[in-house]
Subunit: 168 residues, 2 copies
């Protein structure tokens, strides 16, 4: 299985501001991951010295960590594979002329991804989560997509894309 968790490396530009809490996206995920792990270790340590006073055995630590991170892994796996599932389920034989249409309209890779997820009924926020980008970015892609498709709403975009053969 190919992990395309991060299809493209994020830019480091706004990182100065990125330590603020409202930050979303890849690095927030990494930081959150690390934080969660650190917090977990801290909590375990705390309980060890506080209540069981060195009575906690290594196996307990391992167990707790294993269970928690397995759950986290399941979640991540689900996120990663939802995409594939949705693509596999509906048969998509018509894949001939869409590339042409996309090229002629100047639709970029990212825009096409957003379009495809939009057609599946996902909200902008859900698309952002799935592509590991922020909500404003999704909106940005969507807007430029609408211009290229000459529409003004997502339902129109989906309808037009299907009639153009861009979507199955």
């Amino acid at each position: 299985m190919q992990l395309d968790l991060v299809p493209r490396m994020p830019n480091f530009g706004p990182m100065s501001k990125s330590m603020e809490l409202r930050r979303t996206g890849f690095w927030a995920t990494v930081v959150g991951y690390g934080s969660a792990m650190a917090a977990l270790v801290f909590i375990l340590k705390y309980f060890e010295y506080r209540y069981w006073i060195r009575d906690l055995r290594m196996e307990v630590y391992i167990g707790v960590v294993a269970v928690l991170f397995t759950a986290l892994g399941v979640w991540v796996g689900s996120k990663l594979l939802e995409d594939k599932r949705r693509e596999v389920a509906p048969t998509d034989p018509p894949l001939t002329s869409n590339v042409e249409a996309i090229r002629s309209l100047g639709i970029s890779v990212r825009e096409e991804e957003v379009l495809r997820l939009m057609a599946q009924g996902l909200s902008n926020q859900e698309i952002a989560d799935k592509l590991f980008i922020s909500l404003p970015t999704v909106k940005s892609h969507a807007s430029s997509l609408f211009v290229k498709l000459d529409v003004s709403r997502r339902t129109q975009a989906v309808h037009k894309a299907k009639s153009l053969g861009i979507l199955a």
Copy 2:
């Protein structure tokens, strides 16, 4: 907007559903899990006493276990989704009569008209104009339609309706 510094903890909604689907293998999974965990602990202990002799720190254990079990979780998650896919996918294609689906869902005439126009990318106001009814009425039809289709947005409704054969 909520702070998602920590990457949004797993919502176990879809997972619990998947687990229901696979209840037979559940305890086997648990047992396998426990075995794997025990083996891992044993291996770690072995290496500790054998080579590093108490030089390994707690954080290393936690880290290794976290990584391994996250990977394991991803695998388990993919397995669960695979099963779900196999069960969902084949049920979709055989849908010859849209009338049947509409009847079985209790979708009324007016709701079906709204759905059809929605699929063409029309806004609620445009639908209202076309059907000579008021905007609130369109919203009302749309809302009850969403309930019957078990969705919450118009793009979802269109997508589901197509997969159900209600729409071309």
